[in-house]
Amino acid sequence: MIKEQLPILILAVPLLASFAITLFARKSKIAAFALLVGAMGMSFVFAIGVMRQILDTGRVIHYHIGNWQPPFGIELVIDHLNAMVLVLVSGAAFLTAIYSKNTVPAEVPYRFPGEEVPERVPNYYTLYALLVTGLLGIVATGDAFNMFVLLEISALSSYALLALGGGRAYFATFKYLIVGTIGACFYLLGVGYLYIKTGSLNMPDLKVILTSPALAESPTVMIAFMLIITGIWIKMAFFPLHGWLPNAYTYASTTTSCLVAPLMTKVSVYMMIRLMFSVFSAHYIFDRLGWQNGVVWLAAAAILFGSISALGQTNLKRMLCYIIVAEVGYMVGGVWLANADGLIGATYHILSDAMMTLCLFMAVGAVIYKTGDASLYAMRGIFRKMPVTSVVFVIGALAMIGIPPTCGFFSKWYLVSGAIEARHWGFAVALLISSLINAVIFFRIIEIGYFPLFDEQEGEGGHHAHDRAVIAEAPFSMLLPMVLTALSLIAIGLYSNEIITGLVGRTIPAGLL
């Protein structure tokens, strides 16, 4: 029985955990933490179970909630694509949950230094579980309206988590809230326009109805598509709709940025891919509308803008945020290249970029946790003080630059191949330039971290300074997920062929091959 019920259990478990934390763990930080980690772990296991089922049978799983046949009831539809994203989301959430053991009690309960609100910790964990539920729900669902509801759950809980950064985070979050609401409402309106022309909300059903020639001509459907895609672009911070992201993520607390930064944008990219190819079709978007050229140029602009802005930052987190803006450009561009390689690259990049971002945010978070400083100069001499963290950081950085055999290289490989195939040189050049800029950014940091000039080393001069260096590594609960994430970057890279032929490649819509 459990085998058939796995799809719903993936998201039911974190959801149950969120209530359980509210009901039973209001007093105890440790109990709340344990519940959260347990639930995330179970969810991860279930997600892997679902992925195995799909790999074994090769069939798409349809789970009818309430036992109602679609399109009348809501169903979960899990194919190769979202099985992968489910594993990614639950896995990243699990790792971050472990990571949160020390950071959350250290950062979250304090509104000001000295004023403690201990109830905040269990509440934080509740919201954490809700956010993950929302994201998992978005990924699993096969219903366009249900996606909106879950989008709002993840949005609301992320507002709360981001706002808990305090100080400037409130205003940044407020702006995010306004922009995010516009995005979600555009999406809702788009679904409404679709509904008015089709009468259905179920994605597979919509796809069938939308193939009718009358609807392909309809301006309503075009506008529905436009509204939906714009809404999602706002949510994923696609240039030039990215303005909210750097501020919102910069001022958040460490765990929040580790959770939100890698996952929210990536899930939005997933939404874009899902809606483009499972509701509309490659034929409709690329042949009938034919906007791909413009969008890919926009993506190239996003990449350049994000990379160059990142270059100018001195705050580590802010810098990573701009890199996210650039990476979103990678993925949007890859999808809109309108060929199989580009889409494979973009989809694979969802996986690799999420892990890369997670890895970097975790490492930076550990540095901030230890030094209390988020500027580039917090990294000074970090290789001596926190060797493991810095190695993790370097691996993340190498992946971002795209050095083989890390996963970043392979996604770039496919994206550039796709660009070459589409004869879109601008995008290919943008990708390469962004790699170079990433190299500059990260080696600047590595230089600061690894080779402090001798006169910069505080209180130590001359040779043999290292012998006296104080080792102050982050706690184990932070190191473990960090190291696992860093290893996964290499593993994802080395198994890229398996991932691509087994999962990503199976999801290429017919029109693109």
Binding site: F145, F148, V149, E152, L156, Y159, A160, A163, G167, R168, Y170, F171, T173, F174, L177, I178, T181, I182, C185, L188, L189, G192, Y195, I196, L201
Partner: protein
């Protein structure tokens, strides 16, 4: 001319929703006062709700509840399927909008809470003044 007018009147629900939508959007983007932005957001959401609900209406139809006594499910006043379909408004948009309203309430609450916090941090809820204070 007359035809255009008829066309507009036949679709007046879209026009009214559109006007509300634009007012809301404009307020959200351009207003300087954060509470006004929040009000804009509410208008924006309400416009969409209006749009959905107007989809559900059918001329000559009533609210989607059949007549029957409690516990007598089988003794419904029998109607043919066609009659039923013609007689009741479309329930689905209402259901969807119930959800959207709730989402709206949630967002509104969170937005107001944030505005209160911002006021506490900066002492003002005018955007330009806040930006100036941030710069300092």
């Amino acid at each position: 001319m007359n035809e255009i007018l008829t066309a507009i009147i036949a679709k007046y629900n879209y026009w009214s929703f559109l006007i509300l939508l634009l007012i809301g959007l404009h307020a959200m983007i351009s207003k300087n006062n954060l509470v006004k932005k929040v009000i804009g957001m509410s208008i924006f959401q309400s416009a969409i709700i209006l749009f959905y609900v107007s989809i559900g209406y059918k001329k000559g139809a009533t609210i989607p509840i059949t007549e029957h006594g409690h516990g007598h499910a089988n003794e419904v006043v029998h109607q043919t399927a066609a009659e039923m379909v013609a007689g009741f408004a479309n329930p689905l948009p209402h259901v969807l909008m119930l959800t959207a309203i709730v989402v709206g309430v949630g967002t509104l609450g969170v937005a107001l809470a944030l505005v209160q916090k911002i006021h506490r941090v900066y002492g003002t809820i005018e955007e330009d003044e806040i930006l100036e204070k941030i710069k300092e």
